[in-house]
Symmetry: C2
Subunit: 403 residues, 2 copies
């Protein structure tokens, strides 16, 4: 990954020592601090201040400042899109798409990925210190929305001196942010790659999120969100929430192919509640490994943001109005076996974009890997992404030849 | 329901006072006690003794003893199929199908429904007293299987003096029991109505059950299954498990139609973790009402029994072998929007029955109501059930005219 380590250092504007005292630098990320003069106006009516955004960059901004690509992460992702994760030691979560030789190559693009507001990897969220009390925010942190996340990202992009993003790219909750970017700042987004997402959260989506939240809140160690002051964490509840979510990320067919009814290290059932089946063992691992890297309250806030997301509702119930006269070039991608964000949701988006006379291409990719497909090695998806960005880059006048 | 109250009283064989002391009569059900001379041989190798089966009957057994219909209940059902439930005060769980004027009418049939072994409504299960310790079994109760449930039902049917059942009927876990009846006792089942079920539990099914079990086990009030001795119950964990299961019982379309993104008693979001959306409020209610009537350990045992179910595995991996030369008349029913037990599972069963030259009819019913459809008012399903039973009754020589 050494060739990707060319992180640009951007000087932060001066902020007071008082503000500084409430901010924590993320050890392995860049951090943009926003002081009292730049509050984040949230949809709930609160001005969040001070706040900070932790982010990573790869590649270099060109002289025209026209080659910036913003990657938006999904629910449990973070800014470490294409570098070894500082907590887990695992590769970046989207190294299949982002990196040398990949469709989004730091050789061509200045790639930015920031931890969302409300997150827990360095951006201000419920695990941060509330400057009013000197204690962890917990449930006193204001509820945030997808538009709030995007508003914070726009402030970061301003800070980086970038007017127009060449591309905004994301899947799942990241795709929601892509769509919100185009609805809120159409003139700042040259091209948009929205993957495995929707313009609103469905009743079933909300149901699964509520299940996860109830699992967290049922854990006595959650303490009404005030676990941090007690030096504990609702590991058990969060693990159950993660297990529930993980089932929705995979298709029935993928689970059948990966695990079927195969037993774990044995041929006969134990007639017990041990993890006899491989799929049980897999789920337990997903749950227990997740809690080591994620804050339970952040999980509540981010799932809530997704539930509230409904672009049409913000435009009088007419989705096409959100994209009226938009110049952005869109590429919408869905996966056949994704039952969390099914193709029908992408089609509804494409119809609205067509009704707005937007420039849009749409691909439904055949795979049995479910929602997770957007993070996996799916060559057709990469080919489409590469072609879309190359075509847009040509129109934008970017030099995408080897240099 | 007065015309359905003609419960037949069947004298139990004498058992010793010592055995009696470990048995509890269910206040509003008949109970069959099985003493030391009649242990239940379980698949795990344990002989369960003594044990008891709580059951309800409706209608009267005819002189030929040829009109008995056994109803098998699903995961969270019980013997109160067609009478007001003694705990909840709600109508019987299958009064849409069973009752006066319904396809399974006590005027024509002697209807039996028993609580499964491992259950918590009067049959012996983990909430019963372990005679060896005088305390509640808890997790010392042996793990049971679908074949164990059916073996216990066969002993009940013997006790009732019935050789051949005119029909065995059930949906979901009840349908698994129907199939197990035909595989284990083909000569004792004249006709079989298997609804919304499968011959094995899929990886996704197991995953959802494991999620539910982990939710229960994550509740500190579960105490390794030993909550009863402490006078508590893992309400929170069991409610989360129920919420997860409930999502799987409904289709995405049904959730959308019932709730969509509609708010609960408000027009604008509260920007909080209250149940803003109707679907959240609905799920919370499903969770909290369930824990009032169901034992958490029973939930673990019955989900485990379903996970272990795999008829083909018990017959060298060849499903058709389970039904070789079977004379039973089958009717298999699935619902288009049931993603828990999809039509593909029913088709696999029908193919195996065809390969065994069995007499089988199959109906896939168009509905958006998901797995739950089998419990709801779906006229096409009732018409098919009625026609199948009438045709089989005619062949069996039953008098199904009004009398």
């Amino acid at each position: 990954m050494s060739e990707m380590g060319s992180v640009k250092s951007i000087p932060s504007p001066a902020i007071s020592a008082d503000e500084r005292s409430h901010e924590v630098d993320h050890p392995s990320s860049l951090v943009a601090h926003f002081g009292a003069e730049q509050p984040l106006r949230l949809d709930c009516g609160v001005d969040l201040t001070p706040f900070q955004i932790a982010y990573q960059t790869y590649g270099e901004l060109n002289a025209d400042r026209s080659n910036a690509v913003l990657i938006c992460h999904a629910l449990t992702g973070d800014q470490h899109v294409a570098n070894v994760h500082p907590v887990t030691g695992k590769p970046g979560w989207w190294e299949t798409l982002v990196g040398p030789g990949r469709p989004i190559d730091p050789k061509h693009y200045f790639i930015i990925c920031s931890n969302v507001i409300g997150g827990c990897m360095g951006s201000t969220g419920p695990a941060s210190i509330n400057p009013a009390t000197g204690k962890v925010w917990g449930l006193d942190f204001p509820v945030i929305t997808i538009p709030d996340m995007v508003r914070a990202q726009a402030m970061l992009i301003d800070r980086l001196g970038i007017d127009t993003l060449f591309a905004v790219v994301g899947g799942s909750m990241g795709g929601m942010q892509v769509l919100q970017w185009t609805a809120a700042y159409p003139e700042r987004v040259y091209s948009a790659l929205a993957i495995a997402c929707a313009t609103r959260h469905s009743a079933q989506n909300i149901a699964f999120h509520e299940l996860g939240r109830q699992a967290v809140m049922a854990d006595p160690d959650w303490h009404g969100g005030g676990y941090a002051d007690r030096g504990i964490h609702p590991h058990r509840g969060l693990a159950v929430a993660r297990m529930a979510a993980h089932i929705t990320y995979l298709s029935d067919a993928a689970l059948h192919r990966k695990f079927g009814r195969r037993m774990q290290d044995r041929e006969l059932p134990t007639f017990s509640f041990d993890a006899d089946f491989q799929v049980e063992s897999y789920l337990r691992y997903q749950g227990s490994s997740f809690v080591e890297r994620f804050d339970a309250n952040s999980y509540l806030y981010l799932t809530r943001a997704m539930d509230y997301f409904d672009i049409a509702a913000d435009h009088g119930g007419v989705l096409a109005k959100a994209f009226a006269d938009i110049k952005t070039r869109f590429c919408v991608v869905s996966f056949t076996s994704d039952w969390l964000f099914p193709t029908s949701e992408s089609r509804a988006l494409v119809h609205a974009l067509n009704a707005s006379s937007a420039r849009v291409s749409f691909a439904e990719i055949e795979t049995d890997r479910g929602h997770d497909a957007f993070l996996l090695d799916v060559p057709e998806f990469f080919d489409i992404s590469r072609a879309f960005l190359q075509s847009a880059g040509k129109a934008r006048g970017l030099s995408l030849e080897d240099r």
